[in-house]
Structure formats: C-alpha cells, structure tokens
Amino acid sequence: MSLHVIQNVEGLRRHLYAALQLEHATIPPYLTALYSIRPGTNAEAAQIIRTVAVEEMLHLTLVGNVLNAIGGRVDLTRPGFVPAYPAYLPDGETDFQVSLQRFSPEAVETFLRIERPASLDAPEIRTVSRTPHPSGIDAARVSDAGEEHFYSIGEFYKAIESGLKFLHAQMGDKLFCGDRSRQIGPEYYYSGGSGLIEVTDIDSALAALELIAEQGEGIHADIFDEDGEIAHYYRFHQLVAGKYYQPGDSPHEPSGAPVPVDWSAVYPVRTNARLDRFSSADLRESAAAFNTDYARFLKSLTEAFDGKPDLFLEAVGDMFRLKDAFGQLVRTPLGDDETAAPTFEIDAAMEALR
C-alpha cells in the first residue's frame, strides 16, 4: 500500500461520505438503548448515552461541513446511507457488528467497541481485512483499490486527516472550492459538546476533524480532553465499572462517585426489530410511519446541507416528534415479553418518498 490511503479529491470525498454514514450509523443504536430506559430510572446512564448521541449529531454536521468545503455533496438520502441492522460500521471494523438493542451490558459492550481508542496498543494506522458481508455497508469500499478496514474510528479519521494534508500540499487552497453559504454555523447547533466549526480552509478542516476524534474515542488514550470533557469511550466505561472517572484516574480504573445502573428498569425492546415480523397491522403501520418520518427528516437535513441551513431549525422539531413516536413504539408490547422498537428500515421508506 502507498503511504497515503487517500490519493485524490474523489477519494477524499468518498471517505468523508463514509464518515457521514459512520457518524449516523451509531445514532439509531444509541437512541434505541436510550429510549428503552424506563422514564424516571437510570438517570446517569440515560444522561451518558444522550450526550454521546447528541455529539454524534455534531460530528455528522462537522463532517458535512468538511465535505461541502471540498466541493462534495452531503446526501443523506442515498440508498444504503442507513445500514440494515445488525451492521458492520462503515469504516470497516470486522470483529463486531452493531445492533439496535435495549440498554443492557451487551449494548454497552458494543458502544465501547464503537468508541475504542485508536492508540491503545499500536501507534500506526491499522487496517484489518475481512471478506465482504451482506450486511456490511458499501462505504467500506471507499478506496480505489478495494475495501479498507480500519481497526477503529480514530484510525479512520487519521487516514482522512493525512489525505486532507496530502491533497492540500498538492493543490493548495483550491482544495477548498466549496460554496461558503453551504457551511452550517454554530447558530444551528446547541445543547451538547462544543459548537460547530465552519470549514473554509485547511486549519478549520483539521480543527473539525480534531474535535471529532477528541470527543469520540479520545486521542492517545486520554480520558479527559483539554476542556475537561470526558471521551465517549470512557463515558461508557463508567457504566461497566459502576464509577465515574475523575481527573488523575488511569484508564479502566475510575475512582469517582458510584454510577448506579438498573439493567432491569428497561423496556424489553426486540433486538433489530423488522417491520415484516410485527404481527399486528396497526403496529406495522405505526412503525412504517416512523420510518417514513425518519426518511423525510434525512431529506430535510440534506436540503439544509444543500444551502438551506434554516431547515436545521425545523429539523430539530422533527427530532422531538421522532422521539415521541420512538417512545410509543418501545411501550408497545409484542406479546412474547418483548416490546416493539423503530426498525430503521429507511431505504424502503426513502424509495417510497421519491
């Protein structure tokens, strides 16, 4: 393999599109776990999952800004953008799949894998190989050479960062040929993590990628970043360890206040629920309506990225509506000690909207 995974602008755009898919692909699993928690219980766990999910939305928007800055297009409506769960992540980890499942030790175990630090045992970018899997996502095939598989999200972003620097050295500021009016600014994002960064040059592009890496798995296994914010990996680890991290702690040895977790105070939502497996016609209709609303929401976000940033404000209203519908589904019993959940079968719903 050559020194740089990314050789040209087209390759960079493909990787950034995969990054969009990646950031988004984590959100339905986080939300399923979050909304399976019974209201009034597990306040600490709910808070941890909620803040991570909201930051993934920030990351998606940051990646969107970088992609728009280099003249790409943020299309969240493309077939396959939302994976069929269980799914491999778009950056190609091979050793685990991500499911839509209730808040449980298994779910948190998956979240730890999603957010695992890049440099825990090796400093260089590692790619791992796997044979193509039917539920894998096309975006794993991001390079000209074939599939790439990164061990962690951190390493995937390192490859993007190095490609960005490589192309900027070759092309100079011509790399940033995107329309500035398509940048989503901090006025459109609130409630969680840091603000949005408008991307117009190499410095702002690197700052955007840095923020994602820093909030996600932590860099160089740092638990807290310079603003004192705890990395996602360690946030989730607190649920396993049953204790909060405090400054000065070593990885995997939190010594703060206890984090109480009640694994039983959870709606028993069906893992990776599918529309065609719901026996009630009413329920199929409600679950299909959720998918349609979600598809419409992604369409509206796409228009926002396409130069109508005001639509972002309305999209926030959509999110609250989706949350309400999410709650109705997880409270609906399926009769076999399970409850329903959104199925996130978005491709079919999107197709019906065209």
């Binding site: 209709e285 409600s286 404000l313 309305e314 926030v316 999110m319 609250f320 609906t332 019993p333």
Partner: protein, 161 residues
C-alpha cells in the same frame, strides 16, 4: 381472562370510548396503569363486569356505537365507570366516582381524585386531539414556537403532506 387478554379487552373498550385506536392507546404506556387504577377504585368485580359487557354485548355488534350507548354509557353501573375512563385517557385525571354509585356498587372502597402518574398527563389524548403539546412537557425544540403546531390526531398522519 389472562392478564394479556384482559389488557387487550381493556384497550379495545378504551378505543371505542375515546375514538383513538388500540395501538395508539397501548403506545401511551398507560393502559396497564389505568386498568389497575380502575380495579383499585371501582373494585375488581365491577371492572371485570365492565369488560365482560364490552366483550359479550358490544364488541362484535354491527352497530357498535349504538350498542355501547345502550349497554355501557346509559347503564347505571357501567356508565360512570366508562365516563371516568374517558376523562382519565383524555386529561390524565381520575375523578372520584359519584357518591350514589359508590353507595350502590362499592360501599367499602376508598376513592378520591388523583393524577395516577406524570405520564398520565403527558400522554393524555387531549393533546393530540387539539393539536398541541402538553404545556410544560414534551419540549419541541428551539424556535419551534414560531411555527404552527405539528401534533396530529393520528400518529400515522403526516403533518408535512
């Protein structure tokens, strides 16, 4: 009846009384809470008798609307219970059953006004019925107050269309 068929019958009766469909009512998460409250406040015998009248004399009737008026809403025993359920589903409040009803059918049971749980209010049917969010609950996002309400009567309706 088994617990799950009891809840199904209760959801179907409630659907006929409120005009919402059973799936929506179950989706509020309040069906079991409300059934338990009915049993506690009206007594198990009265609650189960109400379900029996529903399943045996109303549910399968061709003119169900008429049947429910005759067999339940106009009935001295079942009418007050049914009206209490309608109020409970819509505004989340259980009103004390009328004194003459308690004297006749549940003389030994204590009853009084109660909001049985916070979600009885937030998931009240009043809100989708009037196309609004419950005040003080279900925040709808920054600046959304400048937009028309987007609550729909039927969760399957699409406010965008």
């Amino acid at each position: 009846m088994t617990p799950s068929t009891t809840l199904d019958a209760f959801a179907n009766l409630s659907a006929a009384l409120t005009g919402f469909d059973a799936a929506q009512l179950i989706g509020t998460g309040n069906a079991e809470l409300f059934w338990d409250l009915l049993v506690a406040r009206a007594g198990p015998a009265n609650a189960e008798a109400l379900l029996t009248v529903w399943t045996e004399q109303v549910e399968a009737e061709a003119h169900r609307d008429r049947a429910i008026r005759i067999a339940i809403l106009s009935d001295r025993r079942y009418g007050p219970m049914a009206r209490n359920l309608i109020r409970l589903w819509y505004v989340g409040t259980w009103k004390q059953l009328p004194a003459d009803w308690r004297g006749a059918y549940a003389p030994t049971l204590a009853d009084g006004d109660i909001i049985p749980a916070p979600q009885a209010y937030t998931e009240g049917l009043l809100w989708p019925a009037v196309g609004a969010n419950p005040p003080g609950a279900k925040p709808f996002g920054y600046a959304m107050w400048a937009k028309p309400p987007r609550v729909t009567l039927d969760s399957k309706d699409t406010p965008h269309a």
